[in-house]
Symmetry: C2
Subunit: 72 residues, 2 copies
DNA sequence: CTAATATTATTGTTTTACGATAATTAATAT
DNA sequence: ATATTAATTATCGTAAAACAATAATATTAG
């Protein structure tokens, strides 16, 4: 069970455009899109940090580890 | 304000040895130590995932973004 | 349709996570 | 003190991948 990137949800909730976040973070829209779609294998902390700063959230809001709960 | 890696705390709380976590995750003790000390610039999701699995925790328990609260 | 936004695709570069190893430094006994 | 264990730090090397730059498609909205 992988780590799920919830950036998509966060952006939708706050009605933040990819472009403005990408500009603030300092990465291209293309790469931000890949991150949003969960198509990257990892993330650098400085990138994560800037995203958190802009969205005023914690890494835990963006990254979720699903599948270790024993809720039957 | 950077991302703080709280792995150190988590291991201490659960009394987990670096060696056993390193073996489970599939990385060397040396690299796990670097991650623990916050001396890496990023992390791969599959590594993060295995750590979360072993510690039965969420990424948010391991990574914290500090310094964006406006508690005056 | 047009226009704005977002995704995907390509190519290339640079960064770096990580392995492998060894040495050093704590701790924890004995 | 001295083993024994655990953890950190240090080198060197490599493979992976984050990222840039760009262009081509979607997707969505008017």
């Amino acid at each position: 069970m992988p780590i799920r990137v919830r950036l998509n949800v966060m952006l939708a909730e706050r009605n933040v455009k990819s472009k403005e976040l990408a500009e603030f973070v300092g990465i291209t829209e293309a790469n931000l899109s890949l991150l949003k779609q969960g198509k990257v294998k990892g993330v650098r902390f400085d990138t994560l940090e800037r995203i958190c700063t802009y969205l005023k959230c914690q890494p835990g809001d963006l990254l979720r580890h699903e599948g270790d709960d024993a809720s039957a």
